[in-house]
């Protein structure tokens, strides 16, 4: 599996990840272009790339996501459903838009995310497999 990730990385390096609201997922994502994030229970790893990067204040952005399980197997959209959301815990509110998640063969692209206030956000990735939803989350300061 390791060399699959490495080949993803090689592919990623060749790609332009600058994006806009409406562009679909260009290809697979992997570190170091992608950020990695373990699900809160450690069972899955989310590889994600925001477009544009860094995430802008009050402008739409997209996130490309791929997921691997703890054994290093790629989880595909055929096997699982992914939702992406964001919120400001200190303010008790989320985004003003519901992101749309598109699928490709090997991953997902969440479009239509917009962080409309500066401050501390959390981005949530919820992966549903066999009726169980697993969450990964990451803090994101927007200024």
């Amino acid at each position: 599996m390791k060399h699959i990730v490495l080949s993803l990385f090689a592919l990623c390096c060749l790609l332009n990840f600058g994006g806009c609201y409406n562009s679909g997922m260009k290809t697979l994502v992997a570190p170091p272009v992608a950020r990695t994030l373990a699900s809160n229970d450690g069972q899955y790893t989310f590889y994600w790339v925001p477009r544009p990067d860094p995430i802008p204040l009050n402008r739409f952005f997209a996130i490309d996501v791929q997921v691997m399980d703890i054994a290093g197997n790629l989880i595909t959209p055929e096997q699982a459903k992914l939702t992406v959301d964001a919120g400001m815990p200190q303010h008790g509110h989320g985004m003003n838009h519901v992101p749309r998640v598109k699928t490709s063969k090997d991953g997902w692209t969440a479009e239509g995310l917009l962080m409309h206030m500066p401050g501390d956000w959390q981005i949530y990735f919820d992966l549903e497999i066999d009726g169980v939803s697993y969450r990964g989350q990451t803090p994101m300061n927007i200024d």
Binding site: F60, H97, P99, M117
Partner: protein, 425 residues
């Protein structure tokens, strides 16, 4: 105010700006030339803008021939009306916002029930308390006026054959009261004819929007300060008043204003419920954005609708993906803080007569509407001193621009298709 605070404030104002401060300050300024609107292909068309300007000042579209857009959006008053609540044919329920820099907004009306400037411009024609007219009467007036018709057809092509009164009534519209002659007449029209008229009606909004795209005042003294800051021109920066500079630093940092007031308009362009007490007293009854989203998504003239010139645009996708959370109940659009010197009173019902009243509200939150003790709020009383409040107000006043060229603030001359600058008296 203690002397030490004064000294600290002075030192703060004079000390060099940090990179974070510079970035935040720069984010409050920038060129505003009317953001392109892909849903309106005519947004930058000079003839459309001229037509829009005629429509804007034309009282002939109202039921009593006395009300135009300019009645409430008075150029002499910063394209607002100076009153808490407007009066068209009847009294309105929300304060008139200024149209200066209006094209930079993402949503229109206090509740954002329009997602494009052209769609916004259509509402007043048929609202009983504004123009009180109907869709066919509006189109017929354009059709029957040689100047308006020529300019319209130059930009948008032929109007529907409104001369054929068997198909196109003189008075008809979908928003006329149910059971009225105008309402029934609209229902009798064929869907194709209705659609053709809706298209023409939407074009009038696009023309007005083209005019309103031009309502961009020159840079303010704050913008000049930012330009100097970015050029590292300390001499030019020194021209910026010390109290305004202190107010600016408070604005972007400890006062927390930047939470909602950032970007070139000093607005996040979105909606918040800040607990401003309603002018009628008691609890608020205006659902604001909560209802606004419902109205917007049901509006055929929305950015993703059939009359949009780009129903796949970001504006369109943005509308279609809106989350209607009940936390948006009573939320209103964050107003721009530019040109406040021309646009009093403030807030969605014009509750506050002066900027100082606004600052006093946020400073103490004494009159904030809190429904009960469970209500969590991001807002905390600022607790600023008198001098700090004065500094903040000084900063806000530096966001005011010189006035627009006079020719943009009056009815154009009588010749069709000629640049209005040459025709005004």
């Amino acid at each position: 105010m203690p002397v030490t605070v004064v000294i600290l404030s002075c030192l703060l104002a004079a000390s060099p700006l940090t990179d974070t401060q510079k970035r935040r300050i720069a984010g409050l300024s920038g060129a505003m030339q009317g953001t392109p609107d892909p849903t309106n292909e005519a947004w930058n068309d000079p003839t459309a803008a001229l037509l829009g300007q005629r429509l804007f000042f034309d009282t002939g579209f109202s039921l009593n021939n006395q009300v135009s857009c300019a009645t409430c959006h008075d150029p002499a008053m910063g394209f607002a009306d100076g009153k808490p609540l407007p009066t068209g044919l009847a009294k309105g329920s929300r304060h008139t916002p200024s149209l200066l820099n209006v094209a930079e907004h993402r949503w229109f009306f206090w509740d954002g029930r329009a997602d494009t400037l052209w769609s916004q411009a259509l509402h007043p024609f048929e609202r009983a308390e504004e123009f009180g007219s109907n869709r066919m009467a509006v189109l017929n007036r354009v059709h029957d006026d040689p100047i308006l018709r020529t300019e319209y057809e130059t930009v948008f092509g032929p109007l529907p054959p409104l001369d054929d009164h068997s198909r196109f009534p003189e008075n008809a519209g979908p928003h006329a009261p149910s059971g009225s002659r105008e309402h029934d007449a609209w229902q009798m029209m064929t869907p194709a004819d209705q659609q053709a008229c809706d298209r023409a009606f939407s074009n009038l909004g696009k023309a007005i929007a083209a005019y309103e795209h031009r309502l961009v005042p020159p840079p303010s003294s704050f913008d000049l300060f930012v330009t100097a800051m970015l050029a590292d021109d300390h001499k030019a920066m020194a021209a910026y008043p010390d109290d305004a500079r202190r107010g600016l630093l408070m604005f972007i940092d400890e006062a927390g204003c930047r939470q909602c007031h950032y970007g070139q308009l000093l607005s996040d362009l979105e909606f918040h419920n800040t607990g401003v007490p309603p002018s009628h007293g008691g609890l608020p009854r205006d659902a604001g954005r909560w209802e606004g989203i419902k109205l917007l998504q049901a509006n055929p003239f929305r950015a993703s609708g059939e009359f949009s010139d780009d129903p796949e645009s970001i504006r369109a996708l943005s509308t279609d993906s809106l989350a209607r959370n009940s936390e948006l109940w009573g939320a209103f659009r964050t107003p721009s803080l530019r040109n406040l010197n021309q646009t009093a009173p403030y807030m969605h019902q014009g509750q506050f007569k002066s900027i100082r009243e606004v600052l006093d509200f946020y400073n103490t939150l004494d009159t904030m509407v809190v429904l009960d003790h469970h209500q969590e709020t991001v807002l905390k009383p600022l607790g600023l001193t008198e001098t700090q409040l004065e500094d903040l107000e000084s900063f806000l006043m530096t966001l005011s621009s010189p006035k627009l060229p006079a020719e943009l603030g009056r009815k154009p001359g009588s010749s069709p298709g000629i640049d209005q600058i040459e025709t005004v008296d």
